[in-house]
């Protein structure tokens, strides 16, 4: 029966084929147009980094200036600062999200009280669902110079003078790293929880019979079993190391100019160049730098993921 049906479909003439597939292609048309406009045209639009953009002439008619924009960008200190900030922050984020994510996932999976388990699972996901604008307000409630809880309550209790947090770049790496972990830990943690839940429980039973303690079980069973997930997640994050969360670096420091030395990353630099300074040349050059290096890193990290666990590779 099924074979017959398949054969009938296969035997269809050309016009029948068109009749069969055309409606399906039409269904894909709106989405395809959107991807072309939203994603593909901007890829070709990257040529503006190699032009002296003059809107009166239009982008295509603007003069080519070769690599001038890039020469300016890399001759300034900015390129080094934003590259350093982007990469160092990401390294810290990857390290903390991995170690704490795994630790919390192990704890949550082992907790016997069902209600508490559910509570913890909900709690870690909660901030993940909030916008960075809100997070910025919350951070401000702690660090506001005149009325923040730190300056008004905590530092006086310790007998210390108030600190002008939004003017002092040196505090921000710690604050941003904390906020990022606080907000984002739930995501990785949930992935590790599902990986741990997939481990065969008989391993643990056998280990217990052999008298292995909890730490030994974690070391010899849990960690090796979730290693593919750990490696994959880490490598994929490394692939994205040239990108950062614009909201974290823009909203949380409240776009405070005095903090740029430790809060400016490639994404905020591109935004400010474009919108605040109207410096399309530098801004687009930084964007191209990010896209191209980012692309190479994604390809490389994927290559490694394929070697480690093929089913987790992006392609």
């Amino acid at each position: 029966m099924e074979k017959k049906a398949r054969a009938a479909v296969k035997r269809g003439s050309r016009s029948e084929k068109v009749k069969k597939w055309l409606p399906l292609y039409l269904m894909m048309l709106p989405g395809a147009i959107y991807l072309i406009v939203n994603n593909y045209i901007p890829m070709f639009g990257m040529i503006i980094a190699f032009k002296k953009v003059d809107f009166s002439k239009g982008i295509f008619a603007s003069d080519w200036i070769g690599l001038k924009n890039f020469e300016f960008l890399f001759a300034s200190d900015d390129a080094a600062v934003i590259t350093r900030n982007t990469i160092l922050y990401n390294v810290a984020f990857i390290f903390l999200n991995t170690t704490l994510g795994i630790l919390f996932a192990i704890f949550i999976c082992d907790i016997l009280n069902k209600r508490l388990k559910k509570l913890y699972q909900s709690a870690i996901l909660f901030p993940f669902l909030m916008s960075m604008v809100i997070v910025g307000y919350i951070v401000y409630a702690f660090f506001s110079m005149q009325s923040g809880i730190v300056n008004k309550t905590i530092l006086p209790l310790l007998g210390k003078d108030p600190i002008f947090w939004y003017n002092e770049p040196k505090y921000w790496p710690a604050i941003l790293i904390f906020v990022n972990t606080w907000k984002g830990i739930g995501y990785g943690c949930l992935i590790y929880i599902s990986a741990i839940n997939g481990i065969d429980p008989t391993y643990y039973e056998a280990a217990e019979l052999d008298g292995a303690g909890k730490l030994k079980q974690i070391w010899h069973i849990t960690l090796p079993c979730i290693l593919p997930s750990i490696i994959t997640l880490t490598l994929l994050s490394i692939g994205k190391i040239f990108y950062s969360d614009f909201g974290l670096f823009y909203q949380v420091p409240r776009d405070s100019g005095m903090l740029y030395s430790t809060t400016n990353v490639i994404d905020t630099y591109v935004y400010r160049g474009l919108m605040k300074q109207g410096n399309i040349g530098m801004s687009s050059a930084a964007g191209v730098y990010q896209s191209v290096v980012g692309f190479v890193l994604v390809l490389l990290s994927n290559l490694v993921v394929r070697k480690v666990s093929k089913e987790n590779a992006l392609f």
Binding site: A141, I149, K152
Partner: protein
């Protein structure tokens, strides 16, 4: 694993309890500051134990907060339209892509997938949307750029369709003379409901929380602001004022009086997250599912 190991249980519970408290307390502070009396707030700063409570901020919002109501309405409008269109576009695109014998399937999949690997960045995208498509200072500026459809969603739905709806079902329906539209509405949509709800949840939250589109594309027509844009604008106004506080002109003084008080700002922020808190169990269910599905590939 099942055996009780009390020392370990205590450690795990203590650590996780601390984590949970650290998560909840900041939101509690946000809420408490919104119901703190304004003069108390000015005198003592933000506090977990305010001297004097007041519902003044919420009264202010209800009495003279047309701007806030309007922004809230915009958020709801954009979220609803954006989510519906996102799910519709993604489902329409994913169903054909899930059919194993679709001619050109590999090429089209690559066409979708490549957008996850490479992108042109903010500058060309901004110039395209604002100068060539012309979304600036229109509601389209909030709806169209970036959020309307994404490769990740398409690939998730496609995988779901191709693994949980058998191809033979479609072929049988076709032989019975059902049109593609009929197959899509009668078979694909009902059977794909779980994944479509998941995608809808992601998309809805993305629209609700989005402030970047408003930041980029809404400059003059501030009546189009969503609640997140309004919150963002109050911050940048204050920032601007504090940076120019040396030469306070009368214009500036007028501006200062326009920025709502801290309590009101906190009340707006709390109102903005209230729906997320209310539907949190629902969000959590689908987020956990979605994260496990797209798992590592997020």
């Amino acid at each position: 694993m099942k055996k009780k190991n009390s020392g370990y249980q205590i450690t795990a519970n203590v650590v996780m309890m601390l984590v949970a408290v650290m998560v909840v307390l900041p939101f509690l502070l946000l809420f408490l500051s919104s119901i703190t009396d304004e003069s108390t707030l000015l005198k003592n700063g933000y506090s977990f134990f305010p001297e004097k409570f007041s519902l003044g901020a919420y009264e202010y919002i209800f009495r003279s907060g047309e701007k806030i109501f309007r922004a809230y309405g915009m958020t709801i409008l954009v979220t609803v339209i954006g989510t519906v269109v996102n799910v519709a576009l993604s489902a329409l695109f994913s169903y054909p892509l899930s059919l194993k014998n679709l001619p050109g399937r590999r090429v089209i999949t690559f066409f979708v997938f490549f957008t996850m690997l490479f992108n042109g960045g903010l500058v060309p995208s901004y110039i395209l949307w604002s100068n060539y498509v012309g979304v600036k200072d229109t509601i389209w500026g909030l709806l169209l750029p970036n959020l309307l459809m994404g490769a990740m969603n398409i690939l998730l739905i496609r995988t779901y369709f191709s693994t949980s709806i058998p191809d033979t079902l479609f072929e049988a329906a076709q032989i019975d003379g059902a049109s593609q539209v009929r197959i899509f509405t009668k078979i694909v949509l009902p059977l794909g409901k779980p994944i479509l709800v998941t995608i809808g949840t992601f998309s809805g939250l993305a629209y609700w929380n989005d402030w970047t589109n408003g930041l980029y594309y809404i400059n003059k027509k501030t009546e189009l602001f969503t609640i997140q844009n309004l919150l963002n604008r109050m911050v940048s106004d204050l920032q601007y004022l504090s940076q120019n506080s040396g030469n306070v002109s009368s214009d500036l003084a007028a501006e200062i009086s326009k920025v709502p008080s801290t309590g009101v700002q906190m009340a707006i922020a709390f109102v903005a997250i209230l729906p997320i808190i209310l539907v949190f169990p629902f969000l959590q269910k689908y987020y956990s599912k979605g994260i496990a599905l797209g798992a590592v590939k997020g």
